[in-house]
C-alpha cells in the first residue's frame, strides 16, 4: 500500500536523535569548526558510544528479521531506511561532527561486510578509515596505482593515498591496492592496515572549506607489510574478462547501499539550514502557509517554497533508494539518482539560505554560513554529481561504460 510516511519506530528514532543532535552536537558546532582539530573531538567519544549502543540493538533486531529463512513476502523498513533516517537527523545536528564520529564511515562498513569473527577479534575495536583516492585518480577508482605484492606470508603495500576521511585519528585504514595494475579493475583488492604498522605514515592533514571537525589525511605506504590474512574478501583475481567485470561490479555494488546514506547527509544538512532560516524569518513575520497562489508570493517566499520543494524531492528519493535496498530490489539507478539530487539540493539550499538571511546569513553568528561550507563536499564525495549523472544516464539509456564515458 502506497504510504510515504515513516513508521512509528523510525519517527521515534528521529525524535530521539533530534534531541541528541540538539543537545549533544549543536553546542559543539562552532567550536570544532574554528579549531579544525587533528584529534577526535573529546566529546564525540562518549556520544558515539551512546549511539553505537542504540544502533547495535536495532541492527540485531533488523538482522534477525532480515536473515530469516522464510522468503520475504512482507514489505520491510529495515537497516537501510533506518540508516538514512538516522544520518539525516545527526547531520541536522552537525554534518561535520557526524562525519567525525568514529565507526560511521565506509571503512567499518567494508570490514564488517567481509571480515571473519577471528579477524574482527584480532583487530580489536574497529575505527577504520577508507583509503581509495590517490593524487592521480579520484572518480575513476579503477586507475589506482598503489600496489600490494605477496612476499611470503605478508602483503607489501606501496603507494600514496589522499583525502582519507579520519585518516589521522582512526585505528585502522582500509586501503585499496592493485595486485597487478596490468589487470585493471579485477586486480584491485582492499587491505586492512592497523595504525602503527611500520611503513604507513600520515604525511599531511588538509585544511578544508568545511567539515572541519573531521580530519582528512594524506597517507604514504612505503613497503608497508601486513599479514596475508589482512586482505578483505576473495584474494583470487578473476580469470576471464567477464568475471573481472563482475568482481569489480561487486565492489562498486557496495556503493548502492552507501550512496543513499551519504545523500542523507544532504537531507539533514539542508533541513538544518531551512529550519534556521525559517525561524529567523518567522521573527520578521514571514510564515509559510503552503496555500497561496504564485501571484501572491513575495520573492523571498517564492524562494523558500522552491527550496522546500527541492528538499522534499531529494528526501523522498533517498527514502525510496533505501526502501528498495531493504526490500532487495535492485537500486543502483535510484541510489545514484538520490545522491545526485541530494548533492545539488543541499548546495542550492544552504547557499540560498545564506543569501536570504543577508548579513546574518553570512555572519558567524548563525550556523548558516558553516552549513553552506560543509555542504559542498556532499556533492563531491561518494561519487560526484557528474559520476551519479553518468550512472543514472547509463541505466536510463541502457549504455555500457565504454559507450557512455
Amino acid at each position: 500500500m502506497i504510504n510515504l510516511e515513516l513508521p512509528k519506530h523510525l519517527q521515534d528514532l528521529q525524535t530521539l536523535l533530534r534531541k541528541f543532535s540538539n543537545d549533544g552536537l549543536r553546542p559543539l558546532s562552532r567550536k570544532y569548526d574554528d579549531l579544525e582539530p587533528k584529534e577526535l573531538p573529546e566529546e564525540l567519544g562518549p556520544l558515539s558510544e551512546l549511539l553505537a549502543a542504540g544502533r547495535k540493538q536495532r541492527s540485531a533486531k533488523n538482522s534477525a528479521e532480515e536473515n530469516g529463512d522464510a522468503p520475504q513476502t512482507e514489505v520491510r523498513n529495515g537497516t537501510n531506511l533506518g540508516t538514512v533516517v538516522g544520518a539525516a537527523e545527526l547531520c541536522w545536528g552537525d554534518p561535520a561532527l557526524f562525519l567525525a564520529m568514529p565507526a560511521i564511515g565506509l571503512g567499518n562498513a567494508a570490514v564488517e561486510a567481509v571480515a571473519t569473527p577471528e579477524q574482527k577479534q584480532q583487530w580489536g575495536e574497529l575505527y577504520a578509515a577508507m583509503a581509495i583516492t590517490e593524487p592521480g585518480c579520484g572518480s575513476d577508482s579503477a586507475a589506482i596505482r598503489t600496489t600490494a605484492t605477496l612476499d611470503g606470508d605478508e602483503w607489501v603495500i606501496n603507494g600514496e593515498k589522499i583525502f582519507v576521511t579520519d585518516g589521522y585519528r582512526c585505528k585502522q585504514v582500509v586501503v585499496w591496492a592493485s595486485l597487478d595494475p596490468e589487470l585493471g579493475k579485477a586486480a584491485i583488492k582492499s587491505f586492512l592496515v592497523p595504525k602503527g604498522t611500520p611503513g604507513m605514515t600520515v604525511t599531511r592533514i588538509e585544511h578544508k572549506l568545511g567539515m572541519r571537525a573531521s580530519d582528512t589525511a594524506q597517507i604514504v605506504f612505503d613497503n608497508c607489510r601486513v599479514p596475508r590474512t589482512n586482505l578483505l574478501g576473495d584474494p583470487e583475481i578473476a580469470k576471464t574478462a567477464e568475471a573481472r567485470k563482475k568482481a569489480f561490479g561487486g565492489v562498486m555494488q557496495t556503493f548502492d547501499n552507501t550512496r543513499p546514506a551519504v545523500a542523507a547527509q544532504g537531507i539533514g544538512t539542508a533541513r538544518a539550514a531551512l529550519d534556521i532560516t525559517e525561524a529567523l524569518l518567522r521573527e520578521r513575520g514571514v510564515e509559510l502557509g503552503y496555500n497561496r497562489e504564485y501571484a501572491r508570493l513575495s520573492a523571498l517566499e517564492n524562494d523558500l517554497y522552491d527550496l522546500e520543494a527541492e528538499y522534499e524531492a531529494a528526501r523522498l528519493l533517498v527514502l525510496k533508494a533505501a526502501w528498495m535496498a531493504d526490500n532487495k530490489l535492485p537500486n543502483s539507478k535510484n541510489a545514484s539518482m538520490c545522491k545526485a539530487k541530494a548533492g545539488r539540493m543541499v548546495n542550492t539550499v544552504t547557499l540560498k539560505c545564506v543569501e536570504i538571511c543577508g548579513q546574518l546569513g553570512y555572519s558567524k553568528t548563525e550556523l548558516l554560513e558553516k552549513l553552506a561550507r560543509d555542504s559542498k563536499i556532499i556533492d563531491i564525495y561518494e561519487g560526484t554529481q557528474q559520476i551519479q549523472q553518468l550512472i543514472v544516464a547509463r541505466q536510463v539509456l541502457g549504455k555500457s561504460s565504454s559507450e557512455l564515458k
Binding site: 510516511e5 523510525l10 514489505v75 517554497y305 528519493l317 539530487k341 549523472q389 543514472v392 557512455l404
Partner: protein, 372 residues
C-alpha cells in the same frame, strides 16, 4: 484508516493488487486508444470520435460512488486517482483532462456535497453514457486568486444569485453539471449548477489555448444567475481543501505527460547519430536525460506522498503544494528539454514533442480542472 493505525504503517511504494490491475487496464487503453489518436486530436482541436464513450465504458466514475447511489462503493481513493491520472496523461493530457472532468465533479461532491446533491448528480453521470461535467474555478485575467474570486454569490430570498465570469471550463454548455466557486460574504463558496435548469443568464464562449487543444474549454459568463439554496455545496466546503485536491491532480497529470516525453526521448537519442555515434554517447545529452529521469521520479514521489496523506486523512497542505510546485517547474523543464534533445525535429509538428511542450505549460492551471 485513522491516524492511530497509520503510524504503524510502513513506508511503502507498492501499489495494491487492485491498483495494479487498474493500471494494467488503463495502460492498455492508453496504448490502444489514446496514444494513437492524440496527435490527430491536437491537430483537429477536437476530441476523437467516440473517445468519451470509451472512457465511460472503463467505469472510473462508478468506482468511488457508494453502492446505494449506484456505484462500486470504493470510496474516496486519492492514491488510486493519482495512478489513474498518471497513466491517462501518459496517453494524452488533453484527452485525460476531458476523461477525468466528470470524475472530478463526483470527487468534489463526495467531499463537499450533501446526500441530495450526490444522488442527483451521480444518477446522471453514471447513467448509460458519458455525460460531461466540469469545475469552474479559474477566472479570466492575470493574478487571479481562487481564495478571492471576482465572481460573487449574493443571498436572494431562499437562494443565491451568481455574477461574474469563469475560465477554462471544460465542455462549456455541453457540461450538464458545473461546480462554480464564488465569493459569498467573506468566504469562498461552491455551487452546483445544473445547466438544464439554471441556464438563465448563463453564456459560453469557446477559448483557445497554447495547448490542451483537443479539450473543449470555455469561458462562462454568469449574468445574475439565480440558483436555489440547494445548489450550495454545504458539507464543510473548503477552498483550501479543493485546491489541495487540484494540486495533486495537476502533479499526477504532469507526471504522466513527462513519462511520455522520457519514453519518447530515450530511443531517439540512442538512435540519432551525429559525428559518427549516437548523440546519447555524449554527456551533454546523456546528463539531460539523467536529470529528466531523476526529477520525474521525484515528481511522482512528492505527489504520492501528498495523495497518501489525503487518503489517510492527514494534513496534506504542504505536500500537495510542494508536489505541484515541483511538477510545474520540472514539468516545464522536461517539456522544454524534450524539444531541445530533438533539435529541429522537436520544433516541427511531425513529432509530439512540441505538443508536450505546449501542454506542460498548463500544469500550474490544471488544478482548477481536475481533482484527485
Amino acid at each position: 484508516m485513522n491516524n492511530a493505525t497509520m503510524s504503524e504503517a510502513l513506508f511503502d511504494l507498492t501499489p495494491t493488487e487492485d491498483q495494479q490491475m487498474t493500471q494494467d487496464m488503463v495502460r492498455r487503453f492508453v496504448a490502444d486508444v489514446m496514444g494513437p489518436q492524440a496527435r490527430a486530436a491536437d491537430e483537429a482541436a477536437t476530441l476523437p470520435e467516440g473517445f468519451l464513450d470509451q472512457v465511460f465504458e472503463l467505469g472510473f466514475s462508478f468506482m468511488p460512488v457508494p453502492e446505494d447511489l449506484g456505484g462500486a462503493g470504493e470510496g474516496r481513493r486519492p492514491v488510486s486517482n493519482v495512478l489513474l491520472m498518471e497513466n491517462l496523461a501518459a496517453g494524452d493530457l488533453s484527452m485525460a483532462v476531458a476523461a477525468l472532468a466528470p470524475l472530478s465533479v463526483i470527487n468534489c461532491l463526495l467531499d463537499y456535497g450533501n446526500r441530495a446533491q450526490q444522488e442527483r448528480v451521480f444518477r446522471v453521470l453514471n447513467g448509460s453514457a458519458f455525460v460531461p461535467a466540469a469545475l469552474a474555478v479559474h477566472e479570466p485575467g492575470i493574478a487571479t486568486d481562487p481564495h478571492a474570486p471576482a465572481t460573487t454569490a449574493t443571498k436572494a430570498g431562499d437562494g443565491y444569485v451568481l455574477h461574474g465570469a469563469k475560465s477554462m471550463v471544460a465542455f462549456g454548455a455541453d457540461a450538464r453539471f458545473i461546480v462554480v466557486t464564488a465569493l459569498l460574504d467573506d468566504g469562498v463558496a461552491a455551487f452546483l449548477l445544473d445547466t438544464d435548469n439554471d441556464a438563465e443568464g448563463l453564456s459560453f464562449k469557446p477559448e483557445q489555448y497554447m495547448g490542451l487543444r483537443s479539450l473543449p474549454l470555455f469561458q462562462i459568463t454568469l449574468d445574475k444567475v439565480s440558483l436555489p439554496a440547494s445548489a450550495r455545496l454545504d458539507n464543510d466546503f473548503s477552498i483550501d481543501g479543493l485546491l489541495q485536491r487540484g494540486r495533486i491532480a495537476a502533479a499526477a497529470l504532469a507526471t504522466g505527460t513527462c513519462q511520455a516525453v522520457l519514453d519518447y526521448v530515450v530511443p531517439y537519442v540512442n538512435e540519432r547519430v551525429a559525428f559518427g555515434e549516437p548523440i546519447s554517447n555524449r554527456q551533454a545529452v546523456a546528463f539531460m536525460v539523467a536529470d529528466m529521469a531523476t526529477e520525474l521520479e521525484a515528481m511522482q514521489l512528492l505527489n504520492w506522498r501528498a495523495a497518501a496523506q489525503l487518503e489517510q486523512g492527514l494534513d496534506c497542505a504542504r505536500a500537495a503544494y510542494l508536489a505541484q510546485r515541483h511538477a510545474s517547474k520540472y514539468g516545464m523543464k522536461i517539456g522544454t528539454d524534450g524539444v531541445q534533445l530533438f533539435g529541429g525535429h522537436g520544433f516541427i509538428r511531425e513529432h509530439p514533442l512540441e505538443m508536450w511542450y505546449r501542454n506542460l505549460r498548463a500544469v500550474p492551471l490544471l488544478g482548477g480542472l481536475v481533482l484527485a
